[in-house]
Every structure is written in structure tokens, then in C-alpha cells.
């Protein structure tokens, strides 16, 4: 489109206004989490804490088991991420570069499954996890997330661009497929692995319904489950809830800001396929 003359300022004003709207809930969340009870009693509600305090954060750790929830969320998200990187990259490599019977129809079938909502699987999945004795365990939450069609797709798309001649050269040197996968494919796919890692970690960290179903013991709660549970008891304590929300959101926001290039590239690679 042509360069704008008069419209330029207007576009910037609209964008800045929209940015302020997008950021405002975060700003307010942090602000309220630092307020004292007196600050909250003021009218009109102040935008900034008058007497900033960290007492609500302290209460989360001292009186409630915030440290435990952070640990649970971290371990579960790491477990899902590591296993999904391994399993999906292996399958992605085979689908991209190896020839086997039924490869393309199998892959199309996997892709078609992406339109099935995960909620449709949850009831029997719960019964399976229960029969396996894995209710209230990390394993019960991690296992269904260990491979994903999206992950396989992402890796496959990326590896398609690796020239076959490179792999053939390694094969002539006598390397087997696993050797090629480990010493050639894995280093080559580092950028896409980072994309997938960020996606998977955030997806697992933010996941709510599945952990809610599997976890009934409080010391196993992940942050979102704990937060939803706290909302029941502490709804009259906005500062405490906001502090909990800050701690829940902070790790994923930091991760995103640090690795957003990979994240957004992965998203676009997965989205603009046809």
C-alpha cells in the first residue's frame, strides 16, 4: 500500500491506544498485588499502590504452598517438553526424510486428527490414568502430552528443507539412521527445536482442564489449578489473588520475551502452510 501522509499520525495514535489497552490488565494486576488494604479501600480505586508492599507475595509462600505449586508446574512442564522434543523430532525426521510404506497417508491421517478437540478424549483418558494408578501423579499429567501432531508437523516442515545430499553423504560414510538423527538432524534442527520447546513448555504451564481432572491432592496442584482453587477461598482478597496471578504469568512472559523470535517463527511455520 502507498506511503501515508496525513494518516500516519492517526495510525500511530490508534496503535499506541490499542497497546495501552492490551497492557492495562497486566499493569493493574502488578499494581494491585503491591497494594495494602488501605490502598484498596480508597475511592476512586488508585492506579498505583500508595504504600507498596510485598506482604501478599510473602503470604503466598508462607501461608499457602506457592513454592510447591511453582515446583509442580515447572517439573511437569519440563517433563512434557523434554519427552515431546525427543519423540516428535524422531517422528518428524522419519516423516520428512525417510521413505516407508504408507508414510504420506499416515501423515495425512495425523494432520486430520488435529481438528479433534482434546476434550473429547478426556473422560476415557481419566479412566485409563485411574486404572494405571496415576491419579495425582506427575506422570498422569505428562503422559498424554508426550507427543503432539503439531510438534511432528513443525519438525517435518523444517527438515524438508535439509538437502538429501547431506544425509546421503553421511549414509555413504556408513552412518545409520539413528546416528544421522543424533549427530546431524538434531544439531541442524536446533532453531525449530527451540520453537517447539517454547510452545510445549508454555502449553503445559498454561494447561488447566487436564491437571484439574487428574489432581485432587493439594500438594500436587499446578499453578493454574491452585489459583482457581484459591479463588474460591480468597475471592475477598484481590491483592493476594493478583500476586498469585503475577507469579503464575511471570515465567511464561519472561520465556516469551526472551525467545519470541523462535516462538513466532514456529507459529507462522505451523499456520501458513497452504
Amino acid at each position: 500500500m502507498r506511503d501515508f501522509k496525513g494518516g500516519g499520525l492517526l495510525i500511530h495514535v490508534i496503535l499506541v491506544a490499542a497497546a495501552l489497552l492490551a497492557l492495562f490488565p497486566f499493569f493493574w494486576m502488578v499494581s494491585v498485588s503491591l497494594m495494602t488494604a488501605e490502598d484498596m479501600a480508597l475511592f476512586p480505586p488508585p492506579l498505583m499502590p500508595v504504600h507498596p508492599t510485598l506482604q501478599h507475595y510473602q503470604a503466598l509462600f508462607d501461608e499457602l504452598a506457592m513454592g510447591r505449586y511453582l515446583l509442580n508446574s515447572t517439573l511437569i512442564a519440563l517433563g512434557v517438553t523434554i519427552s515431546s522434543l525427543l519423540i516428535n523430532s524422531m517422528a518428524g525426521y522419519a516423516f520428512a526424510k525417510l521413505h516407508f510404506r504408507g508414510r504420506d497417508s499416515l501423515f495425512r491421517l495425523l494432520l486430520a486428527m488435529m481438528v479433534i478437540p482434546s476434550q473429547a478424549a478426556m473422560l476415557p483418558l481419566f479412566l485409563m490414568i485411574k486404572e494405571l494408578g496415576l491419579i495425582n501423579t506427575y506422570a498422569g499429567i505428562i503422559m498424554p502430552g508426550m507427543s503432539s501432531v503439531f510438534g511432528i508437523f513443525l519438525i517435518r516442515q523444517y527438515l524438508k528443507s535439509v538437502p538429501d545430499s547431506l544425509l546421503d553423504a553421511a549414509r555413504i560414510d556408513g552412518a545409520g539412521e539413528f546416528r544421522i538423527y543424533r549427530s546431524l538432524i538434531l544439531p541442524l534442527s536446533k532453531p525449530v527445536l527451540v520453537s517447539l520447546a517454547v510452545f510445549t513448555f508454555m502449553g503445559s504451564w498454561n494447561d488447566f482442564m487436564w491437571p484439574l481432572i487428574i489432581l485432587s491432592q493439594e500438594d500436587r496442584y499446578t499453578l493454574p489449578v491452585a489459583l482457581a482453587n484459591l479463588m474460591g477461598e480468597h475471592v475477598q482478597d484481590p491483592q493476594l489473588m493478583m500476586a498469585g496471578a503475577v507469579l503464575t504469568i511471570l515465567p511464561v512472559v519472561v520465556l516469551f520475551l526472551l525467545l519470541q523470535r523462535y516462538y513466532l517463527e514456529g507459529l507462522v511455520a505451523g499456520g501458513v502452510k497452504d
Binding site: 500500500m1 502507498r2 501515508f4 500511530h12 496503535l15 490499542a18 497497546a19 492490551a22 490488565p25 497486566f26 493493574w28 525427543l86 519423540i87 524422531m90 517422528a91 525426521y93 522419519a94 525417510l98 521413505h99 495425523l110 486428527m113 481438528v115 479433534i116 476434550q119 473429547a120 478424549a121 473422560l123 476415557p124 483418558l125 479412566l127 485409563m128 503422559m143 507427543s147 545409520g176 539413528f178 538423527y181 508454555m202 498454561n206 482442564m209 493454574p224 489459583l227 482457581a228 479463588m231 484481590p238 489473588m241 493478583m242 498469585g244 496471578a245 503464575t248 504469568i249 511464561v252 512472559v253 516469551f256 519470541q260 516462538y263 513466532l264 507459529l267 499456520g271 501458513v272 497452504d274
Partner: protein
């Protein structure tokens, strides 16, 4: 390398992923269908031999369950208003950011994307307070404009719109990034040629941008539709399905029936109907693409 060795390597590379997908996705989906033909409840949970096959009884029950129709209505409301609003907000911001000469494109993209990566439960907590009739800033801002306070989440008329507003805020950045990528893939020379022909900005948008963005629209539409039909955490955290059941979604009803009342057979029927609705929505959009 002989051709016989390679298939076995391929098999072992693909096997873990297929095993996991089969075990934890395909099998449960099939089992959900079977489960929906049983009367699986609390007693069967304790002893499997209490389980009985009851054919289409659960589905018949669904058709006579006012709660199910309420949930269905609410969910369609959320999707019918939420999806177009989300997609429009995404397209609009993508177009604005993608204008030539806009400064700080990367900054705006990051800011608009930020709500997408944040934990839904946490932002639902924040918005619940934003919507608070007394503490919430939303009503304070409205009062400055001389508008009467609104009981956002407590008023049956306003509860679902409140959830929609929050969902649009949370999600528009996702589709925006996809739209920006789509816009960037349109060759600039098309616009230059149109300019030479004397086409205005709107005419360029209508005859170049929109048609070339059609595949992106289909993708964005399908992904958003699938996501919005699964509405769960927002009502769970913010309204518990209330007031007067006006934010009860199909997924929330499934959760309540299945994991609160342990009517797993009935809940499976609900989840299967939801699946079929999402599937037909997806197929419909794919067909639309073919005929457009």
C-alpha cells in the same frame, strides 16, 4: 545401505510417537464413543461389572435435558459473536501494523501477542476483578463517562458479553501474527501495479488483499472456531456457569456431569456431540473455501 534396513529404522523412529498418539488420543476417542452408549456412573467407577450398555439412552436424555440446550445456546452465542470479533480485531491490528512507515512494528507485535502467552486462569482472575462492580476499574471509567455501573459478571445479560470481551483481548494477537505473515506474502508489485491503474486504498484492499488472504482466513477461522467451542476455563473461574446458567458452556457441563457427578457415560455423550459440532464447523469452513 540396503533398502530393507531403512524401513526398520523408520519404524523405530516413528513408533514412539504413534504409540503415544494411539494410546492417549485415538484409543480414548474411540472409547469415548463406546462410553457414551453405557450408563457408566459412580457405581461403575467402583466396580466395572455395574456397567450396562444402554444404546442411545444418553443421547435421548440429552435431547430432553434443558441444561444441555442452555449450554449449547450459550456456547453458540460465545462462538457466533466471539469468533468474528476476534478475527476482525486480529485483521485490523495486522493491517495497521503492516502499513508501510509504521514505527516499532516489532514492539506492537510483541505487546499485542503478550495476552496470548499468558495463563488463561491467571488472566481470568485479573478480569474477574476488573469486572468487579465496586473494585473494578471498568465501572469507574464508565462512571467518568456518565454511564451507570454495570454488574458485568452478575447480570445475566452481561455475563457472556463480558467473557467474550476478555476472550477477544486474550486471543486476537494469535491470529494477528498469522495475518501479518499472510499480508507479507502478498507481492508488493501487485499494489504498485494497482496504484499505476489508479486504484485507491480501499479498492486495493478489496481486490488484492482480501482475495489473497483467503487461505489465511480459512486457517484462522478454523483454529479460532475449534478453540472457542471448547470454552471452559473462563466460565469455570469467573462465573461458575452463572448467573442463572447464562455462561454454562458445553465443555463446562461435560466437566460437571463427568467429574463432579461422575456420570461419565452421559458426559461422554455430551463430549461427543461437541466433537461432532466442531467437526461440522470445520468441514463447513473447508467447503466454503472451495466454493469461494
Amino acid at each position: 545401505m540396503t533398502p530393507t534396513q531403512r524401513p526398520s529404522a523408520a519404524f523405530w523412529l516413528v513408533f514412539p510417537a504413534l504409540l503415544m498418539t494411539g494410546l492417549f488420543f485415538v484409543l480414548p476417542i474411540v472409547a469415548a464413543l463406546l462410553l457414551s452408549f453405557t450408563d457408566f456412573d459412580l457405581y461403575a467407577l467402583a466396580r466395572w461389572d455395574h456397567l450396562r450398555l444402554i444404546g442411545f439412552e444418553n443421547y435421548r436424555h440429552l435431547l430432553n435435558d434443558p441444561l444441555f440446550f442452555l449450554a449449547l445456546k450459550n456456547t453458540f452465542y460465545f462462538v457466533a459473536i466471539g469468533v468474528p470479533l476476534s478475527v476482525s480485531a486480529s485483521l485490523l491490528t495486522a493491517l495497521l501494523i503492516n502499513q508501510r512507515g509504521v514505527r516499532g512494528q516489532g514492539f506492537f507485535r510483541t505487546v499485542f501477542f503478550l495476552p496470548v502467552v499468558t495463563t488463561l486462569v491467571a488472566v481470568a482472575v485479573v478480569w474477574r476483578y476488573l469486572y468487579h462492580p465496586r473494585l473494578g476499574l471498568l465501572n469507574y471509567v464508565l462512571s467518568l463517562l456518565g454511564i451507570e455501573p454495570i454488574d458485568w459478571l452478575g447480570d445475566p445479560q452481561w455475563a457472556m458479553p463480558s467473557l467474550i470481551i476478555m476472550a477477544v483481548w486474550k486471543n486476537f494477537g494469535f491470529n494477528m501474527v498469522i495475518f501479518i505473515a499472510g499480508l507479507k506474502s502478498i507481492p508488493r508489485r501487485l499494489y504498485e501495479a494497482a496504484e499505476v491503474d489508479g486504484a485507491g486504498a480501499f479498492e486495493q484492499f478489496r481486490s488484492i488483499t482480501l482475495p489473497l488472504l483467503a487461505p489465511t482466513f480459512v486457517f484462522v477461522g478454523i483454529v479460532t472456531l475449534i478453540g472457542y467451542f471448547q470454552l471452559f476455563a473462563e466460565p469455570y473461574v469467573m462465573t461458575q456457569g452463572g448467573p442463572s446458567g447464562r455462561t454454562l458452556s458445553v465443555a463446562l457441563l461435560m466437566f460437571e456431569e463427568g467429574f463432579r457427578w461422575w456420570n461419565l457415560g452421559y458426559a461422554a455423550a455430551i463430549s461427543f456431540v461437541l466433537f461432532l459440532i466442531i467437526l461440522s464447523g470445520t468441514v463447513l469452513q473447508m467447503l466454503m473455501r472451495r466454493f469461494l
